[in-house]
Each structure stands twice: as structure tokens, then as C-alpha cells.
């Protein structure tokens, strides 16, 4: 049981890190809380399903195409619905919640509530310390690590990364320094939706795809941000793994049904005991 918790906790920790980083990116740079974040992940999963099952694409092209299409959807939603409301955090919150429900219903009407299965890209499995791990799960872990390394390089080594960090630190000053803030926002949205889409695409083969699948990752991402503290990369990664191991411990040692309840318990406990999170500024003003 302990090996299962360790192995699957590590795999989920990597996925959660991607999810949480995408979520904090919008949060930190554009300064909005995007409740449609989970819906974006759901859209990506269904796109993969359709591209593979209905259009017969191979896994890798389907994956890339789904991430690209989801990115476009995210950017279009941002331009149409968020930009006019951006001054009011409350209205952005409500409109993104509305978009999330709307997209979920579109999925219900298009695919019905019946869960769908996405075939794995790498069939087969191997045993690690006596635990059966599918190749797909290992691939997911590998891709997640590569994505994290790419994101880190993007944020620290490129001009775009510097601009993103500058806008996150002080939007006005960044604008005065000649950074095109609006364009940077759009890039942040694009990267964030790409990360959500990538996470959806990575998980789709070993979970079922269903219309309401987006809420749990949204709330998990929020929990991780609360626990890790805002604006702290290492805090986010550490928190993602804490949440993942805690979830796996609950699932294997207590009851799989309580998995989410424990995550939400962590969120509330953090808010009560350590509202600033482990590192960083925290969300309590």
C-alpha cells in the first residue's frame, strides 16, 4: 500500500504541478481568478477523445492539435468575455463560472453524460516494487517533467518570460518600461490554457472523460495555490506533491470517495491555520 501511495502520489503530483502553475499564471499576471480553468481542461480531454475516436488521428498529433485548439478557445473567451469586465474581479468571477457551466452543458449535449474512454498512447505496463504501473502513466510523468522544465526555461531565459514576471510584479511599472501589457496578458492566458489542456490530455487516457470532470482540478489547483502561497514556484511544486500524496493516502488507506474531501479539508485548514500558505504572499490581504 505504501508503494502505491508513493508511486501514484508522484504521478499525480506532477500533473497537479502543471495544473496549479497554469492556474497561478493567470492569477499572478492577469490578476483574475478563472473559474473556467477546469472547463478548459475538460474541453481539451473531449477534443482528444473526438480527434482519436471520431477522426482516427494518432495519439501524438491529436494531442498537439487538441492543445492548440483549446488554446485558441481560451484566448477567444478571454477577448470576448474577460477583457470588457476586467476592472471588476467579482464580475470576472461570475462570468467565468457562467462560461464553465455553459461549456459543461455543451459537452453534455454533444457527448451525453456517459463517460468516454480515450485509448492509451502506450499500451502495456510494468511492475515497480510489485505495483503495476502502466506505460501511459510513466509517459505522463515524463511529459509532465519536460513541460515543467520548458516552463521554467521560458520564465527565466526568454524575453517573454521576463515580461511576464515584470507584469506580475508591478503592472504599472512594467507598462512604463514599455512592456506591452495587454499582449503579455494574452500570452499568459495562452500558456495557462495550454497547461490546462496538456494536463487534460495527459490524464484523459487513465481517467474517464465526463462533462463535470473540470471542477475537481480547478479546486485542487486552488488548494495548491492556497497551500503553496502565491507567487512561489517552489511552494507550488511542494504543495502539489503534498496534496497528491495526501489524496493517494486517503484513497488507498481510507476510502477513495473521500479523496476530494481531504483536499478541500487541506484548503480550509490552511486558511485557518496558515493563511499565507507555506511560502509566498498568500491570498489573505
Amino acid at each position: 500500500m505504501i508503494t502505491e501511495i508513493l508511486i501514484f502520489g508522484t504521478i499525480w503530483g506532477a500533473i497537479y504541478t502543471i495544473l496549479a502553475l497554469g492556474f497561478t499564471l493567470i492569477f499572478g499576471v492577469v490578476r483574475i481568478l478563472n473559474l473556467a480553468y477546469g472547463a478548459i481542461y475538460m474541453v481539451a480531454s473531449y477534443l482528444i477523445y473526438s480527434l482519436v475516436s471520431d477522426f482516427g488521428l494518432a495519439m501524438i498529433p491529436a494531442w498537439l492539435l487538441a492543445v492548440a485548439l483549446t488554446c485558441l478557445v481560451g484566448m477567444a473567451l478571454y477577448r470576448i468575455f474577460i477583457v470588457p469586465l476586467r476592472e471588476s474581479l467579482g464580475r470576472v468571477l461570475i462570468v467565468t463560472a457562467g462560461i464553465a457551466i455553459f461549456l459543461q452543458e455543451v459537452a453534455v449535449l454533444t457527448y451525453s453524460t456517459e463517460p468516454r474512454y480515450v485509448p492509451t498512447a502506450l499500451p502495456g505496463s510494468l511492475a515497480i516494487w510489485g505495483v503495476r504501473v502502466t506505460h501511459q502513466q510513466l509517459l505522463t510523468l515524463g511529459v509532465a517533467v519536460v513541460l515543467l522544465a520548458l516552463l521554467h526555461a521560458l520564465l527565466t531565459r526568454t524575453r517573454l518570460g521576463r515580461e511576464l514576471r515584470a507584469v506580475a510584479q508591478d503592472t504599472e511599472m512594467a507598462a512604463l518600461m514599455g512592456i506591452p501589457v495587454e499582449r503579455t496578458y494574452l500570452f499568459a492566458i495562452a500558456i495557462s490554457t495550454a497547461l490546462a489542456a496538456a494536463a487534460g490530455a495527459l490524464i484523459a487516457p487513465f481517467l474517464t472523460v465526463s462533462p463535470e470532470m473540470g471542477w475537481s482540478p480547478l479546486l485542487v489547483a486552488f488548494t495548491i495555490v492556497v497551500l503553496g502561497g502565491l507567487g512561489s514556484l517552489w511552494g507550488t511544486i511542494l504543495a502539489a506533491f503534498i496534496v497528491a500524496y495526501a489524496e493517494m493516502f486517503t484513497a488507498y488507506a481510507i476510502s477513495p470517495q473521500l479523496r476530494e474531501a481531504v483536499t478541500f479539508g487541506i484548503m480550509i485548514l490552511t486558511l485557518v491555520v496558515r493563511p499565507h500558505g507555506l511560502f509566498g504572499k498568500g491570498i489573505v490581504e
Binding site: L33, L35, F81, P84, L85, L89, G90, R91, L93, I94, V95, A97, G98, I99, I101, F102, Q104, E105, V106, V108, L109, E212, W215, L219, F222, S255, Q257, L258, E260, A261, F264, G265, M267, I268, L271, V272, P275, I283, V284, E285
Partner: protein, 317 residues
């Protein structure tokens, strides 16, 4: 204060009294059932408004409170006389108001919204898991002590009482303090307002009224199950409040009637109900952030400006 409230109280009495007399002409049990549901949603939406609309702390988990009331009816219904179940529902909801309110007090804006969103989901999971107590996904069957007609009248009476209490609070000094905290809680605290206590007070007041409504809701459905804590149940209340017009008490009640009746009139295309709700929400936030109530005010203001009636009224002042 009473003078300011009098026209609204009178309007309320006329509208709700009219609804109460409706069964004299319309005896269709289906209509009665839809109106009961609308009245219950109106109780939930207006009790949601005192925290969300006045203090501006959007509560995405109001279902916790009426769900607590409904489960109280399920647990205690067979053991207590009917008249004691109602207060028990309110007490249960107030207990949850402290449980939710205390961790949320330090939070503001969107953070509070996401945190409140999580509470009903925890309860939903617990209800699924501890099936010996809660009946799991099947829930608990509730035996209503009232006939359908009695329940309809009880719901209307509770709606009337809820709206009158909330309007009185909203128009009092407490209401202005709520608004001051909503505008700028730092400034309110600097002026000597104990913002924490007022926020908790708004949680408790809204929860107590929702808990009472929750008991009737369980009677109406004759059942209570974990789906009462589902995401959409809480969102439906938020949508009703926003579409009706936040921070007006009567607006959210209006929104509840509007959306419930809209949902029922679209019964043939039942599958599109949620889609339409969310589309109405998005349109409303984009185009009429003041909701139906604000729209009505705007239109009546325009009519007054252009009409003779309005001019006469202005002159007489």
C-alpha cells in the same frame, strides 16, 4: 425607516397575498408545485443576498445552509413534532454558518467565493461516504406533515416573513454598515466598525432563513439526498441572485421566480435548461450587471422622466 419601507411592504403583501389566493382560481396541482418551488428558491436567493449583495462577499456555497435545513428535516422529522423541525433546521444551518463563516472571515472577494464553493462539495462527499447515517446516494425519504396546499401557503408565509425581515435589516443601520463594509472594509474598520462581527452576523442571518426554507424544501421534494450539495444547486442560487439584481433583497426573489418559471415553461426542452441558465447569467453580467431589478428601475425612471404622471409627482414634492 418604516416610511421608506412602507411601499415595498405593501407591494409585497399584495403580490404574495395574490399568490396565496391563486389556488381559488387555479386548482392545477402542477402549477401549485412549481410556485412552491419558486417561493422556496426565492427564500434561498434573498437570504443569499444579505451577505453576497450587501457585503459583496459572493457566497458560492449557500446550499450548505438550506441543505443543512433539509437534512435536519430528514433526520429529525420522524422524531420531533413538525413545529420543532423548523427551528431545528434553522439551528443546524446556523451551526454551519459558524463553521463556514469563521475560516472565511479573513478572506475577501474571489477567494471567499472559491472557499465557500468547497464546503457543499465536502458535505456531498461525506453524505455519499457515510451511507449508514445519510442513506448515501439514495438519501432519506421525508414524510411531509403538510398537504401540498398547506406547504404552498407555508412557503409563501415564510417567503413574506423572510423578505420583511431582510428588508428591515437592509434598511436599518445594520444594512448601511453592511454596505460600508462592502464598499471598503478597511475604511469601515477605521471608523470603528467591527467588520468581522458584522460579516459573521450576515452569514448567520442568511443561514438561519435558508435553513428554515430548507426544511420546507425537503417537505416539498419528500426527499433529501446528496444532490442538494451539488455544484449546480449552489450556482443556481447565485444565478438567481445576480439575474434578479444583487443588493436589493427583492431582486433575487424576483430572479428566483423568473428563472424557475422560465425553466418550467421550457420543460419540453428540459435538456437545455442549464444551458439557458448559464447563458442568461453571462448575458446579464455582461449587459445588465444590476439585474432585472435594476433594469426595471431604469425603465420606470425613463418612463417617469418622459411621462406626465412623473412630472406631476415631482411637482407635488
Amino acid at each position: 425607516m418604516i416610511r421608506r419601507l412602507a411601499p415595498r411592504y405593501l407591494g409585497l403583501l399584495v403580490v404574495i397575498g395574490g399568490l396565496a389566493l391563486l389556488p381559488l382560481w387555479v386548482s392545477n396541482p402542477y402549477v401549485l408545485s412549481v410556485l412552491t418551488l419558486a417561493a422556496l428558491y426565492a427564500i434561498f436567493a434573498s437570504s443569499w443576498d444579505i451577505l453576497s449583495g450587501y457585503i459583496g462577499q459572493l457566497n458560492f456555497g449557500h446550499a450548505v445552509f438550506f441543505g443543512a435545513g433539509a437534512y435536519a428535516a430528514g433526520f429529525l422529522g420522524p422524531h420531533l413534532p413538525a413545529l420543532l423541525v423548523l427551528p431545528a433546521g434553522a439551528v443546524a444551518a446556523v451551526g454551519f454558518a459558524f463553521l463556514v463563516g469563521v475560516p472565511c472571515l479573513k478572506l475577501r472577494g474571489p477567494y471567499l467565493s472559491l472557499t465557500t464553493l468547497v464546503f457543499p462539495l465536502i458535505l456531498e462527499r461525506l453524505a455519499f461516504t457515510f451511507r449508514d447515517v445519510t442513506g448515501g446516494e439514495y438519501g432519506i425519504t421525508v414524510d411531509p406533515p403538510l398537504s401540498a396546499m398547506g406547504l404552498y401557503l407555508a412557503a409563501l408565509a415564510l417567503l413574506l416573513a423572510t423578505l420583511m425581515v431582510l428588508l428591515a435589516v437592509a434598511e436599518s443601520r445594520i444594512g448601511s454598515t453592511f454596505r460600508a463594509i462592502g464598499d471598503d472594509d478597511q475604511a469601515a474598520m477605521a471608523a470603528g466598525v467591527n467588520a468581522t462581527r458584522f460579516k459573521l452576523g450576515a452569514f448567520v442571518l442568511g443561514a438561519a432563513l435558508a435553513g428554515l426554507g430548507g426544511v420546507l424544501y425537503a417537505y416539498h421534494l419528500r426527499h433529501v439526498g446528496p444532490e442538494i450539495f451539488s455544484l449546480f444547486t449552489s450556482f443556481a442560487i447565485v444565478i438567481m441572485g445576480i439575474v434578479g439584481g444583487m443588493g436589493t433583497i427583492l431582486g433575487p426573489a424576483l430572479g428566483a421566480f423568473f428563472l424557475t418559471l422560465l425553466g418550467e415553461s421550457l420543460r419540453e426542452i428540459e435538456t437545455f435548461r442549464v444551458l439557458i441558465y448559464s447563458a442568461v447569467l453571462i448575458l446579464c453580467v455582461m449587459l445588465f450587471p444590476q439585474g432585472l431589478w435594476g433594469l426595471g428601475r431604469l425603465l420606470s425612471g425613463l418612463a417617469r422622466k418622459s411621462g406626465m404622471l412623473g412630472r406631476a409627482r415631482i411637482r407635488s414634492r
